[in-house]
Symmetry: C2
Subunit: 287 residues, 2 copies
Amino acid sequence: MNVFIIGVGLIGGSLALDIQKEFTSATVYGIDQNTDHLQKALDLGIIHKKTTNADLINADIVIIAIPVDVSLKVIPEVLDQVSDTCLVLDVGSTKEEICEIIKKHPKRRNFLATHPIAGTEFSGPNAALTGLYKGKTNIICEVEKTAFKLQEKALDIFSKLGMRIRYMDPKSHDKHIAYVSHLSHISSFMLGKTVIEKEKNERDIFDMAGSGFASTVRLAKSSPAMWAPIFQQNKENVIETLEEYIQNLENFKALLEQDNFSAVYAEMENTNHIKQILSGIQEVKLL
Amino acid sequence: MNVFIIGVGLIGGSLALDIQKEFTSATVYGIDQNTDHLQKALDLGIIHKKTTNADLINADIVIIAIPVDVSLKVIPEVLDQVSDTCLVLDVGSTKEEICEIIKKHPKRRNFLATHPIAGTEFSGPNAALTGLYKGKTNIICEVEKTAFKLQEKALDIFSKLGMRIRYMDPKSHDKHIAYVSHLSHISSFMLGKTVIEKEKNERDIFDMAGSGFASTVRLAKSSPAMWAPIFQQNKENVIETLEEYIQNLENFKALLEQDNFSAVYAEMENTNHIKQILSGIQEVKLL
């Protein structure tokens, strides 16, 4: 089995490591615009061989793990080049535009749109981890548009990597993910910004910041090259979540200004409920 | 050495555990309004004995680890009752009102205002942890107002528990801590609220939320009984941080609306800088 990984960073690199482990007869090829990253992936044993798009005809599976704006261009090109029996899947954080752009592609049935909900705030091949996907959710969109045998091939990989599968249409995916992922990245980035702006003396931040702050701003370390295109593709949903978030913050501020601390208490108590909702995630997912 | 812990929850209970470990000859007494918590602390070995305020005259050290609104009443009462050689310290997250309320107390020199920056999102004696304070910062306010010998006694404990000490005036403490702690709690609570409101189908949240979301809303599990009084006492500073945070979110939203994604990119890239600032915290402090 020839597995081609396009984009050998955190997401693609971690997939490569797990695929090597679970499919010992697979040969993992890497393609990356960043030649340093590609060499690094080879040196780290993330891939077996470096290659280029010219070799795509020999691929059994192509996994596209690059920023979602580049995917819009790369996915159709890859589909043009692969064989009729090759499975091409992307793992980006937005699904609507990606599904739209290839909907009339002659090889649409070779493509599967997926979003494994896994990652860390780090990026590049050095950030790749074995077992990153174990116990994580993988959202698959428009499964019915993929050839049955290629669905099977993909599900076999996801299952061996330990992922739970959920099926969803691209529009719902993008809407929901704006709330549970995209918004938290923005809240984290803007929290980091607010504190950096205020606290010019970094030593003071460092000395006073505890684990709570570190946890809340963790996502502010994420890669802008990955996230700016995500916000662009999911702009409408992200703006909607931001408006609701800002409104909730404004309401909370108004309660403080009105000295209505019983309402402040109630706001927090009602939200404590997140404890139960997230109880399953904490253990399996929190890094 | 008789150590009295008033409030045997996460913070007081964790102090009790470490003090028992580092001062093997110490007897640790617990006082708590919540009789279930007090019994639980005894059962868990967090304290050696249950007691009441009537016994405070026998204390060598009293540690007050209760919500900051209750502290305003309890600290002066405790000072009224302890011996002339007893050290009384509080560990609350606000310092200005607490220092103000006891500034003319006849036993002011028996009191030390501290804020160990440590904790988790959980509360009560079950949440108490050994080693919680190791490597953490403890902020001490108005140290010069505490008797020299009692400062020494406190520093000996903090040093054996592995804490780093920083001295700060109460006003600066409350201002800085609003940015690096209080604001992140509000951003987290309101993020949790926004998602809960939107996603009535909790199963969908659970399935799509990953470690990033879990990390960002972790603080939304915190105790309202602890946090409402903190926001009340630090109201002015907290409102200021909230205004700046909301403004940054509004600006980010405007950039999205204007399709100015190079500026969106720059915003994130500039904030990535938090990586270096927090690099020391991640390893020692992130739970």
